[in-house]
Symmetry: C2
Subunit: 421 residues, 2 copies
């Protein structure tokens, strides 16, 4: 729902894809299936996973992954639109070097030859014994220790770097493509029996399995990332022109209060203590406000995401971007570890949903709606997503848009994916 039905303006974007990953040096991984229209008013597209999606591999070595993502833009939709069109291609690109490695059950090789594109047919496998032979005995025995890196952590690393490359592309093309603003990004990648849920921002993913709620993400906001921001400001005060104090106070301090004692906390503290107010404490606090009103540098309410390269502190020349992170937290859910029934789902939603509807309410709506449809009715998941969106938007009454509990509906864009497990 665009801005909860209250305006024409839309900053939420979405994408679902089945993406082929072909081994280099074959041509670039091709996209299959449909792509959500970037400015489509509804992101509730059904996706049939039963399609023979990767026929196009046609004997070439590779695999495919399923992909769903939500992008909640701010200060414009440019970054969100581009990310919805490109992030999965960056993930594909990162995975292309891993085609052989991920399909081999033995642990990934630590070291590869310089250029796999120029190497033999199975370069990553061939190189390993030779490498080992080349490493000489070292004076300190523990230098021989080798960490075993799992396949799963290679996929996590690929997704993390894909977010970084996506962010760099937005930076490069923001002028020529007129890309405004930034966006939160929440992406779910299904690959080889596992869901990888990557979140950078304040969207949220939960799994509902047998009525139980399993959180698949956490939110990154000035409140949850306070200590990271304070630590950075403390180490590099010049980044903010020394305009802000890295200390947090429960409210702004008035100059008249100099010399009194006030509650504070710094980058190392999770509790609070009193300190004597000094001149420096009168600066604006790096992190200020509570809940949805919390802001970093009095400007932004999310601390991770893509874009925002030109964002500055209001009426100043201070860049915000160094304090933001484009890296997601990636959580893994192994589908093969559990039995799933047709009512078990992964729900992805932007904050438009979660601001007014908590995990339990979402879970009970999911269960309520699914019981109204046959387990093999493919549209049942779409109906759940629609119901979640509409309930969070509410109904227009005399006193504004109201939900069933008579509270105000979400004033934000609302996007939801409901994915059967």
């Amino acid at each position: 729902v665009i801005n909860a039905g209250k305006s024409q303006h839309n900053e939420d974007q979405a994408c679902c894809e089945v993406v082929c990953v072909e081994r280099r040096p074959s041509p670039r991984g091709r996209l299959l299936s449909r792509e959500a229209a970037p400015n489509s008013p509804s992101h509730l597209l059904p996706l049939s996973l039963a399609e023979p999606a990767c026929l196009s591999l046609q004997g070439r070595k590779g695999f495919y992954f399923h992909y769903w993502a939500l992008f909640d833009g701010h200060a414009g939709s440019g970054a969100a639109v581009m990310a919805s069109q490109r992030l999965h291609l960056h993930i594909c690109e990162q995975l292309r070097d891993l085609v052989d490695i991920l399909q081999d059950p033995s642990p990934p090789p630590i070291c590869l030859p310089p250029d796999p594109r120029a190497g033999p047919a199975e370069p990553s496998r061939m190189s390993l014994p030779e490498d080992d032979g080349e490493v000489p005995n070292d004076a300190v025995p523990r230098f021989h220790l080798e960490k075993v890196v799992s396949h799963e952590s290679l996929v996590i690393g690929a997704i993390e770097n894909a977010f970084k490359h996506m962010d760099e592309q937005i930076e490069r093309e923001r002028v020529s493509q007129h890309l405004s603003g930034g966006c939160c990004a929440l992406a779910a990648v299904y690959l080889m029996g596992k869901f990888y849920v990557a979140n950078a921002g304040d969207s949220r993913a939960i799994i509902i399995r047998n009525g139980e709620i399993i959180p698949m993400s956490r939110e990154f906001t000035p409140e949850t990332e306070r200590q990271r921001l304070q630590f950075l400001e403390y180490l590099r005060p010049e980044l903010l022109g020394k305009t802000f104090t890295h200390l947090e106070f429960p409210r702004r301090i008035h100059p008249k209060e100099l010399g009194k004692k006030m509650l504070y906390r710094d980058q190392s503290m999770s509790g609070w203590a009193y300190k004597k107010i000094e001149e420096d404490d009168l600066k604006f606090p790096l992190v200020y406000g509570e809940g949805k009103k919390a802001r970093a540098m009095a400007t932004i309410g999310v601390t991770r995401g893509l874009g925002d390269h030109d964002l500055k502190v209001f009426s100043s020349n201070i860049h915000i971007k160094p304090f933001l992170s484009c890296f997601p937290e990636v959580r893994v859910y192994d589908l093969t570890q559990y039995e799933h029934c047709p009512d078990d789902v992964l729900v992805l939603g932007t904050d438009g949903l979660w601001d007014v509807t908590n995990d339990k309410e979402v879970a009970s709506t999911v269960m309520e709606v699914l019981t109204n449809y046959e387990p093999n009715d493919p549209c049942r998941y779409t109906m759940v997503a629609q119901e979640l969106v509409v309930r969070s938007r509410g109904v227009l009454k005399q006193r504004g848009w109201r939900m069933a509990n008579d509270k105000l509906g979400s004033g934000d864009d609302i996007s939801v994916f409901v994915i059967p497990l």
Copy 2:
């Protein structure tokens, strides 16, 4: 057990106390009950909580807290000995300003007058209305927002700052008092119905309630704090004389491998990816090794604790201390929220215990030993602690000290508190 019975040398220290906190400006909070002898061979002292411990308050306003702590020294016992004698006094000192505030059920005041010692009888309460009147209307309405700070978070802040002051005292007195080395610190404070468990290092606390294990701490090691260390090195490479690389690799790289691709991860990644090896990557990695062998700057296996002010990277002039944190993580357990039976306990142990005995094994030993004693027998908890220590040490056999499962016993000092809830 000193060094698991294998030597005379001891670096573990412990302390248990009932500490009186008197309001300023009355004389300094006095210690009651016994103090663990700093170099006592056994830390399994029984403590009778039923004693009328705070009679000494004699009408003066104040409260008392119960305190247990373990200090696992390294590179000497000096820091551990001093911390075992002083940390509770620093906690007391921090709490003295909070005597009135913690005993008042209304939320703590945000702002206090300049010097509570010179103020009226109830300075913190008196000042509040006046303060509010002084804060003028501000142009931006959200400046009026005031965070509500809980009593609990004031106690957490007091404990956090007590650790900092303890660390500063060790720094000041290390030369005159010949204090060598550093120490991990794990402290449990029982105050007004809640346990506050503060951990800086690799000791561990768990609660066993009705057979269920509730973790009350996590370990701080080069592995668990890798990203914090890498972030600091990345932002301030001059701290380490550019001797180390902030990137982590699964093993050391040989110069001959320049130009090949190797797995790595940086401060933003939890997964792994391949990168082309460059000259800079040949530097020693900031974090290296796995498990108990993991080291920061090739030197130290714990990343939080007290002391270590003179610790340097081997045969260099590079100080380690800026990378260590003296701040604990504090977890709170509200005793009033649950019914407890005589078999419910809080277990504190140094890594000498946990290296060879996991949470489940500890819980089953606790339950096994407690059933051998009457529920009202006060020595039953001491017997559990003794059994936990002895089982982890093992028995001297022909092939060394062996535990019941025939694995090698702990080669470290082992200290355990078992505290009935």
